[in-house]
Amino acid sequence: MRRNGMNTFGFLKSDRRLLRAEPDFRPMARLLQVNWFYVLLVCVLAGVGYIALYSAGGGSAKPFAGPQMVRFGFGLVMMIAVSLVSPRILRMASVPIYLLSVTLLALVLRMGHVGKGAERWINLAGMQFQPSEFAKIGLVLMLATWFHRIGNERMGNPLRLIPPALLTLLPVLLVLKEPNLGTATIIGVIGATMFFAAGMRLWQILLLVAPLPFMGKLIYSHLHDYQKARIDTFLHPEHDPLGAGYNIIQSKIALGSGGMWGEGYLHGSQGQLNFLPEKQTDFIFTMIGEEWGFVGGIAVITLLGTLVMGGMLIAIRSRNQFGRLLGLGIAMDFFLYCAVNLSMVMGAIPVGGVPLPLISYGGSAMLTMMFGFGLLMSAWVHRNERDPGEDEDEDD
C-alpha cells in the first residue's frame, strides 16, 4: 500500500505529480473540448422552463420567465467558465468551498430567514441565497477530492472512510437542523452514492445498510411535528382537502385534467385560475402536465433523464477518479432534484420544497445547478487526465 507521502489529514498538500502530468494550458483548445451537445440539452431544458414560466405568469414574461432567463444567461456563462477550470485547481478549491458552504449553513441557522417553516435563506449582498443548495456542490467536490486522494485500493480500510463520512454527516445534520428534511436526505443520498461508486467494499456496505430499518424508526420519532404531518398528509391527502392536503390534491387534479394531449398552452384551467399552489416553483411540472398533457410531461421526463444519463456517461468516460466522482455526484444531485420533485407533484412522496432544476423559478437553485453542470463539464473537458496507474490500454 502506497501512502504517497500523505497521511489522513495531509491531503491538502498539492498534488505535484498530477501538475506535472498536465502538459498544455490552452483555454481555447479546451473550449473546443466542451461537450456542446450537452450544453444544448441544458439550454433546451431552460427553454422549457421559460415556456412554462411564461404560462405561469399568465401569458407574460413578467414576473417569472424574464428574470429567470437573465439568471440562466449568467449561469450559462458560469458553467462554461467553470468547465475550463482544471481539476487540480478544483481539488485545491474544494476544501475552501466545502468549509464556506458549511459555514454558511451554520450561519443561516443563526440568522437566516425562515420561509414557510422549512427553507432557510440568507441575504448575500442583497441577493437571497439558500446555502443548502450550495452545500451539495461543496460536498460533492470535497468527497470527490478525498476519494481521488486515497484511490480505490485504500477504500478497503475502514479508517479511511471515517473522515469522509463525517464530512458528509456535518452538512446533513446542519440542513436537518434548519429543518429541511428533503434536502438533508438528498445530500445524504448523494454522499452515499459517491461512497458506493468510489469503490466501497461490499462488506462495508452491508454493515452500514443492515441497521437502516431501525434508524428509520428512530428518525421518525425525532421528526418535527410539521414533518410528521407532512407524511401523514401524504398518506391521506383527502382528510384535509383545503389545508395541508390541498397541494397534493390540486396537483393531481391539474395533472389529470391535462389528459393525454393537455388543455393547450396557456389554457390550463387549474394553473391559470390559481388553483395550483406554487405553480411557478415546486409545482411547475404540474402546470406543464396540465397544459401539454401526458405527451408533454413524458417529453420533459425524457429530457431530464437524458441529462442525467449524459452526466453519468461523462462520469464513466473520465479516466481519473476525481472526474468520475465529480460527474457522478453532480448527475446524482440533478437526478435527485428531478426525482424528488416529480414524485412530490405526483403525490408519490411527501411534499418537501424541492424545485425542478432549471425549470422552477428561483435564483439560487438555478445558479448552483449551473455551477454543478460547470463542474460536470470540467470533468468532461479534462477526462483524459489520468491518475497514475490508470490502465494505459483502456480506451477512453
Binding site: G151, S257, M260, S269, L273, F275, G297, L328, D387
Partner: protein, 671 residues
C-alpha cells in the same frame, strides 16, 4: 470483529487480492451503470405514474377540475305569498336591505366592524354571531353584518363606503304580515333555517332563505318556498368570479289562497275582545274555515329577524298561551255541547228513541254514587228534544248508560270528534272520546260513573274548537265536510260546484232532524238554555248548544252548602264556556264554535259571542241580503279597520229570557 478467522472477511480479502491493483475505473463503471439502472428505473416509474394520473384516472380528475373551476351559486327564490279568500295579502314580501361584509376585501376586520357599529348599532348577540360566522366561512363568502336595514341606515352606509372596505349592501326580501297578530296562528311565521334544516336541504344556506315554522307557512312550505335558481360561474382559486357560464332561473314560490275572510276574522277578534278564547267560523256546506281566532295572539313578523329571549320568555310563560293556536291545539272537555253526539249515538244504536221519556229528579244514582243535574230541582219527565233544550244532565246520564261508550265513540268520530282532522295546520290535536278499552290501555278500570260522566261531555272527553265546528257543521248539513283552510283554485271550484258532491254522514236524516230540533229549541224556545243567542235577523233562526266544562270537581260539601257559585272561584278554576251553533236553521250555511277559557257559563259567556259572530258572518254572506232587525246591531260589525269594537250591548241581547234559570252553570260532574 475484523479478525482474520472471520470467514466473511477472509473471503473479501482473497477476492481483493485477486483483483489488479488499480481497478478503480472498472469498479466505478460497474457501479455507475448500476446507479444509472436505478435512476432509469425511478424515472420509468415516475413516467408510469404520470400515465396513470393523466390518462387512466384523467376522466375522474377532469371532473374534479371542472368542479374546481366553476362555482355554482344559488339564487334565492321569492317565497310565495298567502292571501285570504278575497285576495287580501296575509303574508307578503317586502324589499329590505342587509349589510354584508366580504372578509377578503378588508385587512382589518375588527376596525371595520367597529366603524360599522357607529353607523348601525350592533348588540352583543349580533357581534357574537358575526364572529362565529367569520370563523366558519371562507374569506370570500360574505358574512351578514345586519339584516333589515332601514332606508336611512342603508343611505348612511353607502355614504361612508370609503371608510368601510368590504362592507356592501345587499337587497333581500323580508316577510311581511300586514295583519300581524290577527292571523298569526293560521298563517304562522317564518324564521331563518337552523343547522338541521340546512343539513337536509343545502339550498337553505342561501342568505335570506326562510323556513315556515308554524301555521300555513309551515305546512305549505313546499309550495311556498319555490325552487332556487342557479348561476354557474367561473371562479379562480380564491373564489373570485371571473365570468358567468350558465344561468338557470329558479321557480318562484307559489301563492296560496286561504278560505279565510280577513274582514270576518277581524270582526271575530274584536268580538272576543281580551278574553282567552277561540272561535271558529266554518262554512258547514263544504268545510271552508272562514274565520279562526285564538286569543291572545302574537306578532309573527318578530320571528323573521329572531325573537329576543325576553319576548320569547314572556310568551312561553304566559298562562294564556299566546303561542298556542287554541282552535286546533287547545283541548277542552266539550261539556253539554257533547250531548247532541250522545243523542245521535243512542238513536243510531237503537237503545233509545226520540220519544222515550226519562224522569229527572235533579240527581241520578248509579252504583251508590249520586250524580247531579245542573238544575237541583230537576226537569221532570222529558224526551230527547226537551233533554237537549234544557240540557238536562240526568236525561243524558240515562241515555249514555243505555247506549254505552262504543256507539258514542263511533258516532263522535264520525262527526269529527276525537279524530285527527285534515286541516292544513301543524300541531292539530285529535282529542279523545274515551271507551273502556282506551281507559284500560292506560291502566285504569272503567266504571259506570265514567260512562254517565262522558254522557254530558265531562270526564275524559276532550275536543278542540275546530272539532266542535266540524261536528256542528256535520250535524247541520248532514254532510261529511272536512275542515280546510286552503281555498280551491278556480278550476277545482267549478269541478265541485255543488254541496251535493260532499258525501253524506252515515246517519239517517230523521235522527239528525231530532238533534237539530233540540238545538233549535235551545236558542229559540224561551225555556231553552241559550235564549240570549237568538238572532236579531229577520227570517233567520239559529240552532245551537251551550256547554260549560268544569276544570275542577265541585266538592259535595260546597254543593250542599247552597252557596256554590263558580263565579266566585279564581279565574283558572272557573269552568270553560262553550257554544256551538249553525244558521240559518232551515238552510244551514255557517257553523260557529266558541270556547271561552274559564268563561264560567256557556249560555252567558259563549252564546252571546256566538250570536254576534254568527250575525257578522251572515251579514257578510254575499248571497243573502239580510238586514239586522235593530239599528243598534247594525253598528256592531262595523269597526273593522281600527280594530276597536264597542261593547256588544244591543238592548235585545241584554234582555234576559224570562224562564232562564238563575245560574246557568252545568255543575254536573261526578260528586
Amino acid at each position: 470483529m475484523f479478525s482474520r478467522n472471520n470467514p466473511f472477511r477472509s473471503r473479501i480479502r482473497q477476492k481483493r487480492q485477486a483483483e489488479p491493483v488499480r481497478s478503480g475505473r472498472g469498479v466505478f463503471t460497474r457501479r455507475a451503470l448500476l446507479v444509472m439502472a436505478v435512476q432509469a428505473g425511478v424515472l420509468g416509474v415516475l413516467g408510469r405514474r404520470l400515465y396513470t394520473l393523466q390518462v387512466v384516472d384523467g376522466g375522474h380528475l377532469r371532473q374534479l377540475a371542472e368542479r374546481n373551476r366553476t362555482s355554482k351559486r344559488l339564487l334565492a327564490p321569492v317565497r310565495g305569498t298567502i292571501h285570504d279568500r278575497f285576495g287580501v295579502a296575509l303574508a307578503d314580501n317586502k324589499v329590505s336591505w342587509r349589510a354584508l361584509l366580504m372578509p377578503e376585501e378588508t385587512t382589518d376586520i375588527p376596525a371595520v366592524i367597529e366603524r360599522f357599529s357607529q353607523i348601525v348599532p350592533l348588540d352583543e348577540h349580533d357581534r357574537a354571531r358575526i364572529e362565529r360566522d367569520l370563523r366558519h366561512v371562507h374569506k370570500y363568502v360574505p358574512v351578514t353584518l345586519h339584516e333589515f336595514l332601514s332606508w336611512d341606515d342603508m343611505a348612511r352606509i353607502e355614504l361612508n363606503a370609503p371608510s368601510l372596505p368590504g362592507v356592501l349592501v345587499d337587497v333581500g326580501s323580508t316577510r311581511l304580515y300586514p295583519f300581524r297578530d290577527l292571523t298569526a296562528h293560521i298563517v304562522g311565521y317564518v324564521a331563518p333555517p337552523n343547522e338541521e334544516d340546512v343539513a337536509k336541504d343545502t339550498t337553505l344556506s342561501l342568505p335570506g332563505m326562510r323556513v315556515g315554522r308554524a301555521g300555513i307557512e309551515q305546512t305549505q312550505e313546499a309550495v311556498l318556498r319555490g325552487e332556487p335558481g342557479s348561476v354557474e360561474m367561473e371562479v379562480n382559486a380564491v373564489g373570485r368570479v371571473i365570468g358567468e357560464i350558465d344561468r338557470v332561473e329558479g321557480q318562484q314560490g307559489e301563492d296560496v289562497r286561504l278560505t279565510l275572510d280577513s274582514v270576518l276574522q277581524q270582526q271575530v277578534l274584536s268580538r272576543l275582545e281580551d278574553r282567552v278564547a277561540s272561535a271558529v267560523v266554518m262554512d258547514c256546506r263544504n268545510g271552508e274555515v272562514m274565520a279562526m281566532v285564538s286569543t291572545p295572539s302574537f306578532d309573527p313578523s318578530l320571528f323573521d329577524s329572531g325573537v329576543s329571549h325576553a319576548q320569547w320568555n314572556e310568551w312561553a310563560n304566559d298562562p294564556r298561551t299566546p303561542l298556542v293556536d287554541k282552535a286546533v291545539s287547545g283541548l277542552y272537555p266539550p261539556g253539554s255541547t257533547f250531548k247532541p253526539a250522545v243523542a245521535l249515538a243512542a238513536l243510531k244504536s237503537g237503545s233509545v228513541t226520540a220519544q222515550d221519556r226519562f224522569n229527572c229528579p235533579g240527581y241520578y244514582d248509579l252504583g251508590g254514587v249520586r250524580f247531579h243535574c245542573w238544575n237541583r230541582w230537576g226537569h221532570g219527565l222529558i224526551n230527547m228534544r226537551e233533554g237537549l233544550k234544557y240540557s238536562c244532565d240526568v236525561y243524558f246520564y240515562e241515555v249514555a248508560r243505555r247506549c254505552g261508550m262504543d256507539p258514542i265513540q263511533a258516532v263522535g268520530n264520525a262527526m269529527g270528534l276525537g279524530v285527527k282532522l285534515g286541516i292544513e295546520l301543524p300541531h292539530v290535536r285529535s282529542g279523545v272520546i274515551p271507551t273502556p278499552e282506551w281507559r284500560q290501555k292506560h291502566g285504569f278500570h272503567w266504571n259506570g260513573g265514567d260512562t254517565v260522566n262522558a254522557g254530558i261531555g265531562q270526564g275524559f272527553v276532550q275536543v278542540t274548537p275546530l272539532a266542535l265546528a266540524t261536528y256542528v257543521s256535520r250535524i247541520a248539513s248532514g254532510r261529511d265536510v272536512q275542515p280546510h283552510l286552503l281555498r280551491a283554485t278556480n278550476d277545482q271550484m267549478s269541478a265541485m260546484a255543488s254541496v251535493d258532491d260532499v258525501a253524506k254522514v252515515d246517519l239517517p236524516p230523521e235522527y239528525l232532524d231530532v238533534v237539530r230540533g233540540g238545538m233549535f229549541a235551545v236558542v229559540n224556545d224561551p225555556h231553552g238554555t241559550a235564549p240570549k243567542a237568538r238572532l236579531d235577523l229577520p227570517g233567520i233562526q239559529m240552532a245551537g248548544k251551550t256547554g260549560s266544562a268544569q276544570v275542577r270537581r265541585v266538592s259535595r260539601a260546597l254543593r250542599e252548602s247552597g252557596h256554590f257559585n263558580s263565579m266566585n272561584l279564581p279565574w283558572e278554576y272557573r269552568p270553560h264556556a262553550l257554544f256551538i251553533c249553525f244558521a240559518p236553521y232551515d238552510n244551514p250555511k255557517y257553523a260557529v264554535s266558541v270556547v271561552v277559557e274559564h268563561g264560567n257559563a256557556g249560555a252567558d259567556e259563549a252564546a252571546p259571542l256566538a250570536k254576534l259572530i254568527m250575525t257578522d258572518t251572515l251579514l257578510r254572506d254575499p248571497a243573502s241580503d239580510v238586514r239586522p232587525l235593530a239599528p243598534s246591531v247594525a253598528q256592531t260589525p262595523s269597526p273593522v279597520a281600527d280594530g276597536t269594537a264597542p261593547a256588544p250591548t244591543a238592548p235585545v241581547l241584554s234582555a234576559p229570557a224570562p224562564a232562564a234559570p238563575p245560574e246557568q252553570t252545568d255543575p254536573g260532574a261526578a260528586q
